[in-house]
Amino acid sequence: MKQDNNTKMSEKTLDAELVEQAKKGHMPAFEMLVNRYQQRVANVIAKLVKDRSEIEDVAQEVFIKVFRALPRFRGDSSFYTWVYRIAINTAKNHLVAKSRRIQNTQVEYEEAESFSTNEAHRNLDTPDAVYARGELEQVMSKAISQLPEDLKTAIILREVDGLSYEEIAEEMACPIGTVRSRIFRARDAIDQALRPLLDKEHNNQEHVRSI
């Protein structure tokens, strides 16, 4: 398909489209938005919340708040800038609440009493799920290290340094089409390596939910 620089949908426009769909109640659009910024939000939270086991919970709270505040988002700033502010505030509130919890042990009994109604969250911390997350990191790390050098360079320049395809093409002294292809092949290679593991984890989660 013919590509014209003047008619590309930028990442900012893409975010705006997904936000508009999410505002209308399209949950798949919001899910895609969350997956898009999940790691950056986790990195921000990790600067304040040192306990790794709590970071994912706080990240979840951040995106719950983001969804509820979506009607108030007008697009004056970028979507990530807005989410970043919510993440910082949520992480700080979490630390304050945690320090209160440590002082008041009565709260722990209340949490235990509510456990039986907390169906949706129960499956996250099974031994299988914890093990699977650790295994996932190992598989990812191994798959990236095994990528051919040109694919690895292209994906690092894109994901870590945030360069555009033109800038990567200039950096690597190759055509834009080659850059496009290398980035896609890198992602596809990782995708193929992960599918057996991710399908297994997905099936395990479904099994736990059905118990």
Partner: protein, 199 residues
């Protein structure tokens, strides 16, 4: 899913896909789980590369967040208690019936005679032409002052006429003779119009 489709997803997430293709692909992804799964896996690679040492690797957080939002919204929506529906239906019917009865009673109070129904219903002047040239039925011309707009017997057109012509002290309204003679409202109008005429 074809390689071209997967490559389009890869370009879409980098902001390197044309607008038309992007919109089409976004619509497709809303309904196609395989497309969304590729999107999630490509973003997992992004997460792995962007992950710093302190944060765990985030995988498909979007799915957990949307599930929790849906379960929260279901718990907020409380189902109607069984057995209450019939009480509401009967209450609503009783209210509607009493309002209808009230309307009938208030209408009948304007028509005292139990005789011919025609006598009970005054003929209103519905158009300006009727004001000037009354219908062939036996009618009487009654002069009314503008303050008679309060009487519900007057049609909205008449009331508007009175409002517009508020410089006039009297407005001609045509009624059937029988209804004027028998209805206390019209008798009152006739009385007052005669009183103003005498003055």
């Amino acid at each position: 899913m074809s390689d071209q489709s997967k490559q389009n997803i890869s370009q879409l997430m980098d902001g390197e896909l044309s607008r038309d293709c992007s919109r089409f692909l976004l619509k497709r992804m809303h309904h196609d789980g395989d497309f969304r799964q590729s999107w999630n896996h490509y973003h997992l690679l992004r997460s792995a590369v962007q992950q710093d040492g302190q944060a765990p690797l985030m995988h498909n957080l979007g799915c957990r967040v949307t599930q929790r939002l849906q379960s929260d919204s279901e718990s907020v929506r409380q189902p109607a208690k069984p057995g209450r529906g019939w009480v509401k239906a009967i209450t609503g019917s009783a209210i509607a019936a009493s309002v209808a009865l009230l309307a009938v009673i208030s209408f009948n109070q304007n028509n005292l005679s139990s005789g011919d129904a025609d006598f009970m219903v005054p003929e209103y002047a519905k158009t300006a032409k009727q004001l000037i040239n009354p219908p062939n039925a036996v009618t009487a011309r009654v002069e009314q002052t503008p303050r008679y707009t309060r009487f519900p017997d007057l049609t909205p057109q008449v009331q508007h006429y009175i409002m517009d012509k508020n410089t006039q002290t009297m407005v001609p309204i045509y009624y059937r003779v029988q209804s004027i003679q028998q209805s206390p409202v019209q008798q009152s109008i006739q009385y007052q119009s005669r009183r103003y005429t005498d003055e």
